[in-house]
């Protein structure tokens, strides 16, 4: 195991005057194997960044221990953990050139000059910034700065690479490019990597394994498929994708079959009250005859076309075969 976290708890003294301390992490244990790309996924304020910062030594845990590559790192300062850290807002050294930024960690370690120069150039090529060695960071775009920050973190040959919302400050298109690029980079360099994100799509696309963190606790650990197909609870199901309610069960909107004729056993009849086309998919809202709130349904455009759906159409809804369902809570 590359990272072994045991019974980690982090509390902050309350700021709002109440005597209850704020619990950022509540008895978290986690083990992350070597060479894997893991996502810490969860809503903002859920404790995932705190967990990452404690692994890096930038924050200290109230109780619990952190082990990196078999070494107890709980009380080691960040300088001695051999961890690469990438920040959401790049944390570039503004007064240094791109090359100097990347070389910083190696210079601290007093590597020979020739080696530093060679390796800096190698790393800049790796992150596609070979042309920009002599620029100042202010002359780079956000995506380029983040790639530079990544090269800088990789330069010290860290045993683990930690990324805190690395693409959070970038626009949607660059974000998607960098996401693919990070995946390919990881396949090339194989360093154990943990990244924090609140974007489930990002986590599902990039990570080998996802750790869902919410309110200071680990809700579920598993591969993207496992989490999507077998969510451990309501929260995980809701966080990993859209959820709607059909009769007595909760399920994903695309796991509902739509028919324009009655027939299937247990079908829920209703009327289409909203219809919205986004790209290749069509989103419906169906008001069931028995009341109980609108049901969301997603189907492809061509399917919707074939069914000749329009506002006010009468439809019969059933859960698809093999759909992931969990019982709806009575109060919903």
């Amino acid at each position: 195991m590359s990272i072994e976290v045991r019974n980690l708890t982090k509390t902050y003294p309350s700021t709002s005057g109440s005597s209850e301390p704020f619990v950022a992490l509540d008895d978290v244990s986690l083990s992350l194997p070597t060479g894997q790309l893991t996502a810490l996924l969860g809503p903002s304020g859920g404790g995932k960044s705190t967990l990452l910062r404690i692994i890096a030594g930038l924050d200290t845990a109230t109780t619990g221990s952190v082990e990196i590559e078999g070494v107890d790192a709980t009380s080691l300062p960040p300088q001695r953990r051999n961890v690469g850290f990438v920040f959401q807002h790049y944390a570039v050294f503004k007064h240094m050139t791109v090359a100097k930024n990347v070389a910083f960690g190696m210079e601290i370690r007093k590597r020979p000059k020739a080696e530093v120069r060679r390796r800096t150039q190698e790393l800049l090529e790796l992150v596609h910034l070979g042309q920009f060695a002599d620029r100042m960071p202010s002359q780079l775009s956000g995506g380029q700065r983040q790639r530079m920050a990544l090269a800088r973190a990789l330069a010290v040959e860290p045993s683990v690479l930690l990324l805190d919302e690395p693409f959070g400050a970038l626009d949607a298109k660059v974000r998607k490019e960098l996401r693919d690029w990070l995946r390919r980079l990881h396949d090339e360099v194989h360093v154990t990597t943990v990244f924090v994100t609140h974007d489930q799509e990002e986590a599902m696309e990039v990570a080998d394994e996802i750790v869902v963190v919410n309110q200071g606790r680990v809700e579920q650990v598993g591969s993207p498929d496992q989490l999507y197909d077998e969510p451990a609870n309501d929260f995980v199901m809701g966080f990993l994708g859209d959820v709607t309610r059909l009769g007595q069960v909760r399920l994903r909107p695309h796991d509902i079959d739509v028919a324009v004729q009655p027939g299937a056993a247990g079908a829920h009849a209703g009327v289409v009250t909203r219809m919205l086309r986004v790209g290749f998919e069509v989103r419906l809202e169906v008001e069931p005859d028995g009341g109980g709130g609108a049901v969301s349904v997603v189907l492809t455009r061509s399917h919707a076309h074939a069914l000749d759906l329009e506002l006010g159409s009468r439809v019969w809804l059933t859960a698809s075969i093999g759909a992931v369902t969990i019982p709806a809570m009575a109060a919903v």
Binding site: A56, G57, L58, P77, P78, Q79, R80, R81, V83, G84, F85, F87, H89, A91, V92, F93, K94, H95, M96, T97, K100, F104, G105, I108, R109, M136, A149, R152, A153, A155, V156
Partner: protein, 281 residues
């Protein structure tokens, strides 16, 4: 007078001259008003002092400048101002650091009190220092009327400059950057030397320029605190006053114009340094 010019020149607005103009009628008017105001207050009086200095002819000018007393006064002023500025660079940065980074009882009070030397009439500053370091000193330190009086008074009145220029920049400094350096293996001293100080350098040099300008112009506190003996503890501004009291306006203006040149040179030097620092890798 000199200090007014120097303060104005140190403002960042004048630092970057646009290579092209982008003047609309509105901004032309604003520019016109600015230039007129600046001329009335600063440029024309300055030209006048140069004219007065020249009025006595080259020989008077040279005789004044090269007289032993004047030379000694100007030299001491520049030396002491430089020394005090150096002290301010160190102490001011330290005080700014404490005010921004540390949490302690009385921090807010200290933050306000820092400006007192700046807000006090300088003659009052002299009086305050005389109380503590004068002949009736309660702590037994009799620095008044000695050579120590000059740096003491200058340090007192110039204290806030570096503190106040560094403080906001230090406050805005991204904490991430220091954490990034730490995770790359840099110790606290290395982070300070290679990451924090280079980021503060432009602010420090700006503060140093203000501090030097203020020191070179100081008069009020020195009149009281220093014995103003020629060749020993007489600074240039007091020398100017002496000339005026003797009715030698041209000589006074000559000293003033020399001070003007010195200030200009130092400010240009510091400005170049801070720009280099801002650009350097």
């Amino acid at each position: 007078m000199t200090s007014a010019l120097v303060d104005t020149l140190a403002r960042p607005a004048l630092r970057r001259r646009a290579s092209r103009t982008n003047l609309t009628p509105g901004s032309s008017l604003a520019l016109g008003i600015s230039v007129t105001w600046f001329s009335l207050l600063v440029l024309i009086p300055l030209a006048a002092i140069v004219a007065t200095a020249a009025g006595g002819g080259w020989s008077t000018y040279w005789a004044t400048i090269s007289s032993g007393e004047t030379f000694a006064a100007v030299r001491m002023t520049v030396e002491q101002a430089a020394l005090v500025t150096l002290v301010n660079v160190v102490m001011g940065t330290l005080i700014a650091w404490v005010l921004v980074r540390d949490r302690f009882a009385g921090k807010r009070l200290l933050d306000i009190v820092i400006d007192i030397p700046f807000a006090l009439p300088t003659i009052v500053a002299g009086l305050v220092l005389l109380g503590l370091y004068g002949p009736t000193s309660p702590v037994g330190v009799h620095w008044a009327y000695t050579r120590m009086a000059v740096p003491l008074a200058l340090a007192f009145v110039t204290l806030p400059f570096v503190v106040r220029t560094v403080q906001p920049v230090l406050g805005e400094l991204d904490h991430d950057v220091e954490e990034a350096a730490a995770s790359l293996g840099a110790g606290r001293l290395t982070i300070l030397r290679r990451i924090v100080l280079p980021s503060l350098l432009p602010a420090i040099t700006a503060g140093a320029a203000l501090s030097f300008a203020r020191a070179i112009a100081e008069y009020g506190s020195l009149v009281l605190l220093s014995s103003n003996k020629p060749f020993q503890s007489e600074v240039a501004s007091v020398r100017v006053m002496t000339y005026i009291e003797n009715g030698s306006t041209a000589a006074a203006a000559s000293v003033a114009s020399l001070l003007l040149v010195v200030s200009l040179v130092v400010i240009v030097l510091l400005d170049t340094l801070s720009r280099k620092a801002a650009r350097r890798g």
